[in-house]
Amino acid sequence: MIRQPAWIRPVAVAGVALVGCATLALVDQQRYAGLSPGCPFRLVTGWDCPGCGATRAVAALTQGQVLHAVDHNALLVVLLPLLAWAWVGWLRVSLGQRETGAVLPPSAAFGLAGLLVVFSVVRNIAMFDWLGSSASWSTAVTTTLVGG
């Protein structure tokens, strides 16, 4: 068996992610919205899961529309830099530059799990529906500011 270079896994993951982003950037979201499988959790329960709106958020980010991305999934916009940091750590470990990858302190890891749970509960409560996957407060804010 041919020995794989050490960086093959992180680079493959980044490649898949980039292809996904490129697809989202190029595909007409309105036209092909019905083709997306959507979220199984939402399909079954009708509730937003912590990841609901992630596809639309990434699509909005590829268009440079950060506020729209926050509309669809605020948590994802916060998590993306963290994941990018983790990926860089992973790459450096695979290249032998570092001993361990990006390691969150255990408290932060527990905090993240708690945040995800709170986020998935709260975004389904009407009062906080601006955290939901189909909120449009950025549109409202923009309209107010621009006076449209």
């Binding site: 499988p37 199984p40 998590l79 570092r98 255990p106 890891a109 993240l112 799990a113």
Partner: protein
């Protein structure tokens, strides 16, 4: 090394300090391995040559592996005594939670966090156990996501074929 012929064993590589090299009693062999406790000591090194000589009886190297002032760690396969790198599956669990829309991912994150706590406490046996659970939950989450998307694509294809 001409003046003395020490016992065969692992000694510090004269050419590349920081790693061990097998001394067969007369000459340096081509077998090299990382210093215990150094990077790459954990499973996955993969570079160890096959004729695997016994572990170092050499004085300096063996001491280096255990001189961390830690409580004795129960043997856990490959590298007992030295700090074990444990992949806690934290990041994979986070991605599973966000991408695969399943609460299983959250369970995975909790186990991954417990694994990291255990690593901090140098309890590598527990860390590996928790990391294993985190891995299982992440993989099941990914698997369900793939099954769901695959099933959806099949349905779409079937619907298209049926003229839906």
């Amino acid at each position: 090394m001409a003046d003395s012929n020490p016992q065969p064993g692992w000694y510090e590589d004269p050419e590349q300090p920081g790693q061990l090299r097998w001394w067969d009693g007369k000459a340096w062999a081509e077998h090299r391995r990382p210093m215990p406790g150094e990077r790459g000591d954990a499973p996955g090194t993969g570079d160890d040559p096959l004729p695997h000589p016994p572990d170092p009886p050499s004085s300096g190297a063996a001491a280096a592996g255990t001189a961390f002032g830690q409580p004795p760690v129960p043997p856990t396969g490959a590298a007992a005594g030295a700090p074990v790198k444990v992949d806690t599956w934290l990041w994979q669990s986070i991605v599973a939670t966000v991408c695969c829309c399943l609460p299983l991912g959250i369970v995975g994150i909790v186990f991954a966090a417990q694994a990291q706590s255990a690593v901090s406490a140098t309890n590598y046996t527990e860390a590996q156990e928790k990391a294993r659970l985190a891995k299982i939950f992440s993989l099941v989450s990914y698997g369900l996501g793939v099954v769901f998307i695959g099933g959806w694509l099949l349905l779409m294809a079937a619907g298209t074929l049926a003229g839906f």
